[in-house]
Amino acid sequence: MIDILRSEWTKIRSVRSTVWTLAVTALLMVGVAVLLAAAYKGSGDDPAPVREALMMSLAGAQLAALSMATLGVLVISGEYRTGGIRTSLLAVPRRMRLLTAKIVVFLAVSLVVCALASAGAAAAGLAILRPPSAEAGEAVRAVLGVTLYLTACGLFGLGLGTLVRHTAGALVSAIALILVLPTLATQLPGDWGRAVADHFTTNAGRLIVSGQDNGALGPWSGFAVYLAWIAAALVAGAVLMHRRDA
């Protein structure tokens, strides 16, 4: 397995799309933090309390989620687009091993890069906003939350890429499930609609970023619900990958 991990690491580091999507992620995180913080500072309001200051500093996560999902999609759809998947399967005919290696390497890359990007964003935002009391614990919790959230979104993309196999189709479904449908779900009527909306993908997953409840779920239970969605996509993708002709 270590051989296959090494091989997947070579693959992910040797294409430009990886560098681009990771750079965009970092840029969005830090850029949005600086923009929002500077705008708030310029408005002349009282210094924001630490919680709000952190939220402003990490507000880029909603957009960065899409660049991470893009990377996740490309990790697998890039191989289907070029036919490189056949080369990969000749080398590693046990398909589930190949998929597992891709997931592990993606997780490692994503956790490191997203942690750095969100720590950078938090540092930049807080440096500008200078909240009255700075609690390190609060900041670390928020950075950790964003790191997990972004990585989960990337994993969602990887699952959808495995399922759909076409880059464009997988990207559209990722945007729909991460950005569009969660918002639409909040318009569902009644208690039942409310429950669906609360449990819908990023509506649940995002709680770990804010560290708050949405009524039905807390930060960790919300994240667990989001992981269940991701697991569904991954399992469906894995089953099809196992069965289909390459």
């Binding site: 091989s7 040797s14 294409v15 490189g84 080369t87 080398a91 005919p93 069965r243 002709d245």
Partner: protein, 296 residues
């Protein structure tokens, strides 16, 4: 040991039966040509052997085992299926490195095979910018990485210039001479006649012939003697075994020498006396004419 064994292989795509009950063996130490017209099922058969496509029936064994059960398969089997199936953004070197690492092949082999196929100079260039000939060489480099005893090439000379064709032909011969099993597909008989020792011919997914090249040539070189003469009818009467055509006579049972002697004795002038050997291509066309998917 038999390198590749296909047993009653079948593959169905919806309503098309791409491969039907195909059985054959590929032996080490020789080049086995896999021949058939377009759409005959050559690529499909190779994909099933390599575990990429799941057979609808039957089985394929490589070095005695299903491909997926080989540990480090690239050290046993090297394959070139589609030369353009490479992530265009990756350099040739990184492409090969990733393949090597997955099978625990030392990274030093990457430089070696790049040297073998003549791509050392462009090792750091993005594979997306490679010409077809260079891509083909990169694909072969990948196949050779694990120094495998079995090689499978799907139409390796497609789209190559004469230099490239000669290079691949020489390489294939060398690999077989080293004792490896080489299984190479083509839809050109002339190509196979120059490289293969053994032929497996299929049409519409079915086995048409499984024979040595010598035997195939022997069988197909039943030529005939073409005789032209202003007194053709008399010649026909004289030789008796001829097949009379409007402007010439075809004789299969006699040599030009015998016919010449006979007509000379009778004093019949001849315009032509030629032994006609049908080309291998013609023999192959004859063999596969019933199985063409598209006829013009």
């Amino acid at each position: 040991m038999t390198a590749i064994r296909a047993t009653n292989l079948c593959k169905r795509y919806g309503r098309t039966l791409a491969v039907a009950d195909l059985s054959f063996d590929v032996e080490p130490g020789r080049v086995t040509g896999f021949l058939g017209p377009n759409g005959a099922g050559k690529s499909t058969t190779m994909r099933m052997i390599l575990g990429l496509d799941r057979p609808s029936g039957g089985s394929a064994l490589v070095a005695g085992r299903p491909y997926a059960e080989l540990r480090h398969p690239l050290r046993t089997v090297g394959a070139l299926l589609d030369a353009k199936a490479v992530h265009g953004g990756r350099s040739a070197r990184d492409h090969l490195l990733a393949i090597a690492q997955s099978n625990g092949i030392p990274a030093s082999r990457v430089a070696e095979v790049l040297e073998t196929v003549g791509l050392r100079e462009v090792a750091r260039r993005r594979a997306g910018g490679f010409s077809l000939g260079m891509s083909q060489r990169l694909g072969i480099a990948a196949a050779l990485l694990g120094d495998p005893e079995i090689l499978i090439f799907d139409e390796p000379v497609n789209g190559l210039d004469p230099d490239g064709i000669l290079w691949i032909r020489t390489l294939i011969r060398r690999l077989a001479a080293e004792g490896r099993a080489v299984f190479v597909s083509s839809h050109l008989m002339s190509e196979m006649a120059q490289t293969a020792d053994h032929l497996i011919v299929i049409g519409r997914g079915r086995l048409i012939a499984d024979t040595s090249v010598e035997e195939f040539i022997g069988r197909s070189s039943q030529g005939y003697v073409r005789v032209r003469s202003p007194r053709l009818a008399e010649v026909a009467e004289l030789v008796q075994v001829g097949d009379l055509h409007p402007d010439h006579l075809r004789v299969t049972a006699m040599s030009p020498l015998e016919i010449g002697a006979l007509t000379a004795r009778a004093g019949i002038p001849l315009e032509e006396l030629t032994f006609v050997r049908p080309s291998l291509e013609a023999a192959y066309m004859e063999l596969t004419k019933d199985s063409l998917e598209f006829t013009s």
